[in-house]
């Protein structure tokens, strides 16, 4: 019996298929203009048989017409992290367009905070900055880790932060120091969002930005706690949705 969770995010569509409580298939696709087509393709790639129930989540969840339920990403991330890392009491999810922190227990969200104000607290910020610095997104973290000098940066706003980066470039500040400043500033923003809740370890970090090692280190320093990045971290909400789908049987 297959149940399926689909997480339609701002940047990607993620599909997870569960069979008897185990991951049977998964797929990730870039979300284009025709999200319905991307969902169908990802579903085809991930599903090895007849899917019984679909639950959709994420900002584009309305696009999944056949979904039995459409819970929010917050509820799904709390469910999903319980599957991946049952001991986690907090999950920080930093995706392309949004950052959020969720206090959780036993698969339930107890409280949450969302950074909705500005791109300076989400993955697109790092993408924009890597364009400005003319380096690959994947190389951003490793480069920042080479830095030996702290450069303060005030990333209250992505637009102002970009002009700050441009002046640092003009001042011939080494790229690795600028990259680190960007990671530190973004971690500062995500950290203050988390502090709107209490920091309750063990803390898991998920979402695309978890791949950026310099950001992870900066956030650990800011929160003064270790962060665990579970395997399949980008699928956490899709897994949560699939678990909810399984309950529908």
């Amino acid at each position: 019996m297959l149940s399926c969770g689909i997480d339609v995010g701002a940047r990607t569509v993620k599909v997870v298929v569960l069979e008897n409580g185990r991951i049977r298939g998964r797929a990730i696709r870039v979300a284009g203009l025709q999200v319905e087509d991307d969902v169908a393709a990802a579903l085809k790639e991930a599903a090895a048989g007849e899917v019984r129930t679909i639950v959709a989540t994420g900002s584009g969840r309305e696009a999944v017409k056949e979904a039995r339920q459409r819970p929010t990403g917050i509820t799904c991330a709390a469910r999903g992290i319980h599957f991946l890392l049952p001991e986690a009491r907090m999950v920080i999810d930093v995706g392309a367009e949004e950052g959020r922190a969720i206090q959780c227990e036993g698969g339930r969200a107890l409280n949450f905070a969302v950074n909705e104000k500005c791109a300076a607290g989400a993955g697109t910020f790092i993408e924009t900055m890597s364009r400005t610095l003319e380096i690959a997104v994947d190389g951003f973290g490793p480069l920042a880790l080479q830095s030996t000098k702290l450069v303060p940066m005030n990333a209250q706003c992505a637009v102002f932060a970009e002009s700050e980066v441009v002046s640092l470039i003009h001042e011939k500040t080494p790229k690795q120091d600028i990259a680190r400043a960007v990671c530190d500033a973004m971690a500062g923003r995500i950290g203050s969002m988390c502090r709107r809740l209490a920091i309750t370890p063990p803390v898991a970090l998920v979402g695309g930005v978890a791949k950026n090692t310099a950001f992870v280190r900066a956030l650990e320093n800011d929160l003064k706690t270790d962060l665990t990045i579970p395997p399949d971290a980008e699928y956490v909400s899709a897994i949560g949705a699939a678990l909810i789908a399984a309950e529908e049987h």
């Binding site: 900002s59 819970p71 929010t72 990403g73 917050i74 509820t75 339930r108 969200a109 107890l110 409280n111 949450f112 969302v114 909705e116 709107r196």
Partner: protein, 375 residues
């Protein structure tokens, strides 16, 4: 009873006021803040009209009200600039936060009204001297108003206006009380439309409508599932669209703690041989605005009491962006409610609201409460 009547009065507030002027030949005075004693204005045959938001972008506010003042103060001045309130003969402010004071002063530059009165009102209503102070200010306001009207007011006229306003408060309280029912006979949006309409129309007419509404509500049954019972807490809030859209997500706002809601009408005027002192006692004793609630924060316990009385499962804490008085109160209210098992969701309001962003957060909040209820 057509419950849409209240909505129509809210939407057509300017037409109502202009029409009222034509019908009665009377004057209309705008009020800033719930501490303006409307009774004195009404006793002189003047229609008090609360200045509320329009929820249209307020870019033209810029040379008059600083960009980092609250959206409500900017929305108000913007409407004056656009001439929406040109029918007003004056405005009265009861001293409150700096943001709305700025709007009050700027207003006089752009609005043709003649009578603009800045009423001092104790900023510490807990002071044992607050009633004496407020009594003196009530007298000063009455005298200035009489001078502008060109005739003195009789105490009997003021007492009559007090009676009408108290009846209004009692009716609203009774209607709100029906929302304690597990299946409230009216939505939060309808309740807000009702209480707002009363701040825009002739109280006697409003009382008449409220009496009809009350009778109809006693037997009314809404087809919708009330879902999660929420309360909404914050400053000035006239965003009925927000309440309506929120309620479509599977909840009902069963009570509010807003200066346009319960803080406007809960409590009555005590008996006092001196009507000015009676008014002072009523206004000093009303549920306080956070800018006057010193030294103890009594609003916190009152909010908790309301939450309990209305059996709420969660609270939306809304704040007008940059509003200092409420920024100060929210942490205390949040921790008090949460300590008592009532989860909260903080939302920051602007002149217009990005409902798409709010939507996911409200849905997640409701999912959290529903999951909690299952355990």
């Amino acid at each position: 009873m057509d419950f849409e009547t209240f909505r129509r009065h809210g939407r057509g507030r300017h037409d109502y006021a202009r029409d009222w002027k034509k019908r009665t030949g009377g004057k209309v005075v705008g009020t800033f803040c719930t501490y303006v004693p409307e009774e004195i204005l009404a006793a002189g045959g003047v229609l008090p009209v609360r200045i509320l938001g329009s929820h249209e972008p307020a870019d033209d506010a810029e040379p008059y009200v600083f960009g980092m003042f609250c959206p409500f103060s900017r929305d108000c001045i913007s409407q004056a600039i656009r001439g929406r309130y040109d029918y007003l003969d004056g405005t009265v402010l009861a001293q409150t936060c700096l943001h709305i004071r700025n709007t009050f002063w700027s207003w006089q530059k752009v609005n043709p009204g003649r009578f603009h009165y800045y009423m001092c009102f104790p900023i510490k209503v807990q002071s044992p001297r607050a009633v004496d102070y407020a009594t003196g200010e009530m007298r000063a306001f009455r005298a200035a108003f009489e001078k502008w009207l060109g005739r003195p007011l009789a105490d009997a006229q003021i007492r009559d206006a007090i009676r009408v306003c108290d009846e209004n408060r009692a009716l609203l309280e009774e209607i709100y009380g029906l929302r304690k029912d597990p299946h409230p006979p009216l939505t939060g949006r309808e309740a807000m439309e009702m209480v707002l309409a009363g701040q825009l129309m002739d109280k006697r007419e409003h009382n008449q409508l409220l009496r009809q509404a009350l009778a109809a509500l006693r037997t009314r049954r809404l087809e919708r599932d009330p879902g999660v019972r929420l309360m909404i807490v914050g400053s000035e809030d006239d965003d009925t669209e927000f309440i309506g859209t929120t309620e479509e997500l599977g909840c009902t706002i069963v009570v509010d703690e807003h200066c346009t809601g319960t803080r406007y009408f809960l409590n009555r005027t005590p008996d006092d041989p001196d009507p000015m002192r009676a008014l002072a006692r009523r206004y000093v004793g009303k549920p306080p605005c956070p800018s006057r609630d010193w030294d103890a924060r009594t609003r916190t316990d009152r909010t908790l009491q309301l939450a309990r009385d209305y059996n709420v499962q969660g609270a939306l804490l809304v704040q007008q962006k940059f509003c200092d008085p409420h920024e100060l109160d929210i942490p205390a209210i949040k921790s008090t409610l949460e300590r008592n098992g009532i989860p909260t969701l903080f939302l920051e309001f602007d002149v217009t609201i990005p409902f798409g962003q709010f939507r996911t957060r409200i849905e997640a909040f409701l999912e959290m409460i529903r999951a909690e209820a299952l355990f």
